[in-house]
């Protein structure tokens, strides 16, 4: 059998293509080492169960929100997630503040108003704002690295390892729920001395949750780490009877019962993002 040039080129070409594609798989760093791990993962059995197709949602009773419940919820979140509290000399938040859940006024949170004759005390009443964990999250659509993504249970999550700090998500979020780390939180906050105790703040924070680094965006994660071990989000635990949380697909859940009893509104509904944080009025 003789091989002409045509056949020789064909066979060697195909051989090279097969060899390269197989070799490429092997050359991918860590691919082989990672392959043997893949069968060894399981979900935490004590996590709060969610019905099929369900998603997490929250209801906030703004008629019951007072100074105490507001600050309790914010403080619980701050502590749970090591959120730095950048304040100026007068104790007011500075421009680079990091917000997960924060107190604001009704008029600022709800900008789509039917008329201009709403009483002043309503407009200035307290509201807690946080990430709405939208059904159609614009932040997820714009993220170039999929650092922010939507989980099957509806939580819009941040993967800090992937965030490149482009801040597209901050521009996309209509609710201002995202904060950028302009400073290194360790250097600018946690390594600083607490004026009350005189010790570095790092001594008092929990090592269960990481801090962030300079140049990443952060926001509320509905306490995904607590849901996984069978606990309600920190703010809901801190303000019982004011904040309700649960499975939006289960008519018997806390949040759905609260929503079926009372009239509720959402922030900027006309945008079609379908927020999953509801406000009972």
């Amino acid at each position: 059998m003789t091989w002409d040039r045509r056949k020789f080129l064909k066979v060697t070409g195909i051989g090279a293509a097969v060899g390269l594609s197989a070799g490429w798989q092997l050359l991918k760093p860590g691919a082989l080492e990672a392959a043997e791990l893949e069968t060894k993962y399981v979900k935490n059995p004590s996590g709060i169960p969610l019905s099929a197709g369900g998603r997490w949602g929250m209801a906030i009773d703004i008629t019951k929100l007072d100074d105490k419940s507001c600050s309790a919820a914010v403080e619980a979140c701050t502590k749970q997630h090591n959120v730095p509290q950048y304040l100026d000399e007068d104790g007011r938040p500075i421009k680079q503040e990091i917000k997960w859940i924060w107190e604001t006024e009704f008029g600022h949170a709800f900008t789509e108003k039917e008329n201009q004759y709403i009483p002043g005390d309503v407009m200035h009443s307290k509201v807690l704002a946080l990430c709405n964990h939208c059904v159609n999250p614009p932040c997820v659509r714009v993220c170039p690295t999929q650092a922010t993504f939507q989980r099957a249970d509806g939580i819009v999550m941040m993967d800090m390892h992937r965030c490149i700090g482009c801040r597209f998500c901050m521009a996309a979020c209509p609710y201002g729920s995202r904060s950028f780390n302009f400073k290194d939180p360790r250097a600018a906050y946690f390594n600083q001395k607490d004026p009350e105790t005189g010790k570095p703040r790092l001594d008092e924070v929990t090592s269960e949750y990481p801090t962030r680094t300079k140049g990443v965006v952060e926001k509320c994660n509905f306490c995904a780490e607590l849901l996984a071990i069978g606990q309600m989000p920190a703010c809901v635990q801190a303000a019982p009877g004011v904040l309700f949380f649960g499975d939006m697909a289960d008519a018997g859940s806390d949040v759905r019962r609260a929503l079926s009893d009372r009239y509720s509104i959402r922030r900027k509904p006309s945008l079609g993002t379908e927020p999953q944080v509801f406000y009972l009025i």
Partner: protein
């Protein structure tokens, strides 16, 4: 050979200067660190954890960074928070919570002797600890 004196002298001087980094550093190489497994076993007993690590010793030596990378993707992106350790027969020996700071560091509790000694020797500085907090050492 013409001009052998200056040529040979020149070659000798060149060789001496060229090999200076080699012979000047002879004997000053630092010895590779040997992380001691004994304290880890003691801490494992205290924390009520099994004696087997999440993967074999050889795997962990060469590929712990792959494991940690894989862990973070599974926890953050796929919500898998438990890692199952099996023996050769496929029987479950242990289940570990997937967490660098609150599980690995329970046994390997001393970051300085466990993590840093090798990383410093290899002159690499992983950025894990820029965010993750080293737990206070268990006494």
């Amino acid at each position: 050979m013409y001009d052998s004196k200056p040529v040979i002298t020149g070659i000798v001087i060149f060789l001496v200067i060229f090999t200076y980094p080699l012979w000047s550093n002879v004997g000053s190489a630092s010895t590779p660190p040997k992380p001691d497994a004994k304290p880890a076993l003691e801490y494992a007993k205290k924390a009520n954890l099994p004696e087997t690590c999440v993967m074999g010793k050889d795997y962990m030596r060469t590929s712990h960074m792959v494991l940690l990378d894989n862990w973070r993707d599974h926890v953050v992106r796929q919500q898998d928070r438990i890692f199952v350790v099996e023996d050769e027969n496929g029987k479950t020996v242990a289940q570990y919570k997937i967490s660098l700071t609150s599980e690995c560091m329970k046994c390997h509790s001393n970051k300085k002797t466990f993590c840093d000694s090798c990383h410093n020797y290899m002159a690499i500085s992983p950025y894990c600890w820029d965010c993750h907090l080293e737990p206070k050492e268990v006494k």
